[in-house]
């Protein structure tokens, strides 16, 4: 479903007969064309973030980043990731264990339900929590009378982020654990090992690189989510503003350099994610 990133192991070149190869100039023309597409479509937006961020010099750049509102947005973004990523990781491991180690009816249906958040627009992903916890929502009256605020506050941001990043870890682990089978675990249990011991000593070492791969993608989306969080945040500066929302606020105030300076922090997050992701995928392939 949308949002899934299959882990690609290093591609091996098939030996091909001579008659199947394109002539050299066709080959290099295609490579050149592909490089142009990549530069235009993907690399250019990356470069422009940096050039726009530094357009008015380092002082403006640094001022935008150490600005108290930006710092508080950074703290909120990190806090949301620190809470949501472990929760979805625990779910992902549990769901993958149930789905890959046992046979039961409706397994395919359960996998479809887990994938559901990828098929739903992020705006709808945020909106459903407004319908449940908002002022006029199902639980709105009760929450209000108990002075609990969920929408336009931290809990709402966490819930919307949980929804958006829900499938990442499970999706990565299910095919991986399916491939690995369960002979090792079964052998250990037959020899008398306890369930948790089997998980920590056998399963976890086997899946750790795939698990980290899912976690890093989950984290990137948790820190970068915009649409869903935008619906539930309320955009209160210094309080419920995450980094991506801060980019939007500055941009709408025509503080372009500052907006791109904050955006460049998120660009660093994306690049670190790509590097780690490649590393985990290579480790997993071995």
């Amino acid at each position: 479903m949308a949002g899934s990133v299959p882990m690609t192991s290093g591609s091996s070149m098939n030996p091909r007969t001579r008659s199947m190869k394109e002539t050299s100039w066709v080959k290099w023309a295609l490579i050149g064309l592909a490089a142009l597409v990549l530069l235009w479509l993907i690399v250019l937006p990356l470069i422009v973030v940096i050039t726009e961020a530094l357009k008015q010099g380092w002082d403006v750049f640094l001022a935008a980043i150490v600005d108290p509102d930006a710092m508080s947005a950074l703290r909120l973004t990190l806090l949301v990731a620190v809470i949501t990523v472990p929760l979805n990781t625990i779910f992902g491991v549990a769901a993958a264990w149930a789905i890959t180690k046992f046979r039961f009816r409706g397994k395919q249906f359960l996998i479809t339900l887990i994938d559901l958040p990828f098929a739903v627009s992020p705006v709808i992903g945020g909106m459903i929590y407004v319908l449940v916890y908002g002022e006029h929502g199902w639980l709105g009256g009760w929450l209000d009378s108990h002075n609990i605020q969920i929408i336009f506050a931290l809990p709402g941001i966490i819930l919307a982020t949980l929804f958006i990043t829900f499938p990442f870890v499970a999706r990565e682990l299910i095919p991986l654990m399916e491939d690995q089978g369960q002979q090792e675990e079964e052998a250990a249990v037959t020899l008398g090992a306890k369930g948790w011991t089997v998980f920590w000593k056998i399963t976890l070492p086997n899946i750790k690189w795939g698990l980290l791969y899912g976690v890093i993608l989950c984290n990137a989306r948790a820190m970068g989510e915009f649409g869903a969080v935008s619906v539930v945040s309320g955009h209160i500066r210094g309080e419920t503003n995450t980094l991506p929302l801060h980019v939007e606020i500055l941009y709408n105030e025509y503080q372009f350099s500052a907006s791109f300076a904050v955006a460049s922090l998120l660009l660093v997050l994306a690049l670190v994610t790509l590097v780690l992701k490649g590393w985990f995928a290579r480790k997993n392939a071995h």
Binding site: V43, A98, I128
Partner: protein, 276 residues
Amino acid sequence: MKTIATKRGVLPGFGLTMGYSVLYLSLVVLIPLSALLLNSTGLTWGKFWDIATDARVLASFKVSFLTAAAAGLIDAVLGLLLAWVLVRYDFPGKSIFDAMIDLPFALPTAVAGVSLTAIYSDKGWIGSLLEPLGIQVAYTPIGITLALMFIGIPFVVRTVQPVLEELESEVEEAAATLGSGRVRTFLVVVLPQLYPALLTGFALAFSRGIGEYGSVVFISGNMPMKTEIAPLLIMSKLEQFDYAGATAVALLLLMISFLLMLIINTLQHRLRKTAR
């Protein structure tokens, strides 16, 4: 020792992991999503129909679906080129090339949105070149399509790439031995085997494009009837506390995208069958 050979197998933990998974899935996904269907907003069928046939709503759906389809189609062509080059050729910088394909997955959509707007606005690197030619990209459907192309391209490359790697070379070799030219071999032998993967890649990019918000909202200009996408219309209805209206548009968007995915899945099933 307990009897361990149960019906499900010897491994423990089914009750715990299954129970927890279903509980967590219900709390985070199913119950909140059901708020849309069980409609807590007092939406009636009559009202739903009024909203669904409202000119502004229809216009936003037209913009969303046309731009997402155009972006998906262009991505299918460009993605095939990128996947082909990555699988079939060796060249310097290939691993960086390969890694960069995933940037749209890792980059927050709002960052892509502001960056693309800066590139294609009339003062931007590309926008300023196109302006004298009378071509406006930012704040038009072309801009929306470009943003959705950025978001969708990895889906196509990452679905086509593994299929292209697994492709059996015998048929290709046979065609070549029988004197078929390279272009003809590609069109007649290789391409048909890639149709299911291309269709999947298109479908993933398309469905992501229909729901996309962050990368589009900056470059679209958000003019009602012209460049307003459906997710943005939901957003503006929410901001006006028109929850019934927002629910109606959201339900419509969900129903149409599920229907389309169903059609595409069926098509794909057929394609796979005929490919064999």
